[in-house]
């Protein structure tokens, strides 16, 4: 019975897959991508959002790319954030990945073998967290007490486990979470530098590793004067697979059985051809 289903789906897939696959190979040039997996994307033709109001100092921010496109050649990427502000002041940039529920697992030695024995689930964990500033961050944050700018430690202090746990255990697992995220460069350990030129132009590199979760990231730029936020600009930054990668990942999620049948057909055809061709060599 199962074989019948497999065969049936394989037949379907052999009709459906080749046409779509070849059409998807053509990848649009970066910068003008309209990826199918994205949520609302910012319109790059419009000027970047600037909080307008009488008496507010000017802060203009833009990114070198409107989105991070995960193509089949993606190996991580560095985006340039740049802009202009009304001096004086300091600039702080906070980039946050979309929040999700993460499960932290801990290995312990059991009968001499290491296996996962502890686990804790956290809600509202940012997929990615990066801060860059034009002056030592500790100093800026200390003066900006009670502000909305949070260091990674402060940001993570607000995440809650799904089930209540003892504070000691909570701290350990929270530390473990940071450890893993650091290892994957999703919580870069060093603060980034915002370089200020001519007193009013600024730029910062935003590093994104190759194992980057998808979603709409939030890039926030703040202008601080004497520890107070006097202007802020928020820009959504969609991160997603595009082109062939996006198609494949999409099929895998939405059309699991069809995708599996397609994979089987691919293996059968290649195995058959490979066997037939190479035996004659």
């Amino acid at each position: 019975m199962r074989r019948l289903i497999v065969l049936l789906l394989a037949l379907l897939a052999s009709n459906a897959v080749p046409g779509v696959a070849s059409a998807q190979r053509i990848e649009p040039p970066p910068g003008s991508l309209t990826g199918p997996t994205f949520g609302p994307a910012p319109d790059s033709s419009l000027p970047p959002s600037v909080p307008s109001g009488p008496g507010m100092p000017e802060l203009i921010v833009d990114l070198s790319q409107p989105r991070v496109s995960i193509t089949s050649a993606f190996q991580g990427e560095s985006l340039l954030l740049f802009g202009m502000f009304d001096p004086p002041g300091e600039i702080v940039v906070v980039v946050q990945g979309p929040p999700a529920r993460e499960t932290v697992l801990r290995k312990e030695r059991f009968l001499g073998l290491w296996l996962n024995t502890g686990r804790m689930r956290f809600d509202d964990v940012p997929a990615y967290y990066f801060i860059a500033a034009s002056a030592p961050l500790q100093r800026l944050l200390a003066r900006a007490s009670g502000s909305e700018i949070l260091s990674l430690e402060d940001r993570l202090a607000s995440i809650r486990p799904v089930r209540p746990r003892s504070p000691a255990r909570l701290a350990e697992f929270r530390q473990g979470l940071v450890e893993v995220k650091r290892r994957e460069d999703l919580y870069p350990a060093n603060f980034g530098h915002v370089t200020v030129q001519a007193g009013r132009l600024f730029r910062a590199e935003l590093p994104f590793p190759s194992r980057l979760p998808e979603g709409v990231y939030d890039v926030r730029t703040y202008l601080l004067r004497e520890g107070k936020i006097v202007a802020a600009v928020s820009r959504p930054l969609p991160v997603g697979k595009v082109g062939f990668s996006a198609q494949l990942a999409g099929w895998s999620v939405e059309e699991g059985p069809l995708y599996g049948a397609g994979a089987i057909v691919m293996a059968l055809v290649l195995g058959w051809l490979g066997g037939a061709v190479l035996r004659r060599l």
């Binding site: 699991g256 995708y259 599996g260 994979a263 190479l278």
Partner: protein
């Protein structure tokens, strides 16, 4: 050259993956068993998530076994009746295996179970093969014209009910035996991403008493369909089949297999089995070492859940 794997969600070196596929193909060509038992642990070592490694490797097994089956079928080395009975067990086993896999993944123990199963399987099979080939080697030296024994010996298992005649294998045994064997191999196939040839072939020879001529072809037949079932179910339930990864492994395997069979043609069977035994033991030792060694960090992350 790096390529982004859409399901594993990371970039990997194309040549590393191609070489892994070629190594698996080489083994398949040399020993007549799929190289999955070596390729899956190596994929995990290079950083592919175990769930993706297992499911994508199963896809390579499909390609690998269809190549070999092509030859075996033409030579008439497939006992179709036996193959279908094995397959009956195999389909049930692999479906149960994928369910078990999904559950183990959910409770965060899949990596551990994969490693432990590999250590147990590989160390026992490796030492058996090594022991057997060394013994044969010495026996043959002492007595080069040893008389041929009985076709096969009769054990308790031959007294089980529901007996079936397998003409091509010259066997009259209970169908329970191949069904159970197929079932167990199906579970292994689903959890470890292997075809299971390295377990199935010795079991068919020593346990069922099948003649060696039909063993490879018949096991290939069963493995092809069981692996296809695993790929289908893994894709449908877990979404862990990475076709880009599988494609590279398959292409490597296509190149590696004929080289392996050419090597095999030049080496005597005993030496081949001893080599295989050493290799299998080496992989088992490495895996055991990984389990015993204190990890750099005891923490890891389970699957991310994006809440609505």
């Amino acid at each position: 050259m790096e390529i982004y794997l859409p399901i594993a969600e990371q970039s990997m070196n194309v040549f590393v993956l191609f070489a892994l596929g070629a190594a698996a193909g080489l083994l398949a060509g040399m020993f007549g068993v799929g190289g999955g038992f070596l390729a899956t642990p190596l994929l995990i070592f290079v950083g592919i998530p175990p769930a993706v490694a297992v499911a994508s490797q199963a896809n390579q097994v499909v390609a690998n076994s269809v190549s070999s089956l092509q030859v075996q079928w033409r030579r008439g080395n497939v006992d179709l009746r036996m193959g279908l009975v094995l397959l009956l067990g195999g389909m049930i086993g692999s479906s149960a295996g994928v369910t078990l896999f999904t559950w183990l993944k959910a409770i965060g123990q899949i990596d551990f179970v994969i490693a432990v199963l590999y250590v147990i399987l590989l160390s026992s099979i490796g030492s058996l093969m090594l022991f057997e080939s060394v013994r044969t080697w010495f026996k043959r030296r002492r007595n080069p014209t040893a008389p041929r024994g009985k076709l096969h010996t009769h054990y308790l298992v031959h007294r089980l009910p529901w007996k079936m005649r397998f003409y091509k294998s010259k066997l009259y045994i209970s169908a329970f035996l191949p069904i159970t064997l197929g079932f167990l191999i199906g579970i292994l196939s689903a959890i470890l991403g292997v075809g299971g040839g390295f377990v199935l072939v010795p079991a068919m020879i020593y346990l069922l008493g099948m003649p060696t001529t039909v063993v490879i072809g018949t096991s290939n037949f069963q493995i092809l369909f069981v692996a296809a079932n695993v790929v289908f179910l893994q894709a449908a339930t877990n979404g862990t089949v990475d076709v880009v990864l599988a494609l590279l492994l398959i292409l490597g395997g296509v190149v590696g297999a004929p080289i392996g069979s050419r090597i095999a043609a030049r080496l005597p069977g005993v030496v081949l089995r001893a080599l295989m035994g050493v290799l299998v033991l080496a992989v088992a030792t490495e895996l055991l070492f990984e389990l015993l060694r204190t990890p750099a960090s005891p923490y890891s992350l389970g699957p991310r859940e994006v809440l609505p």
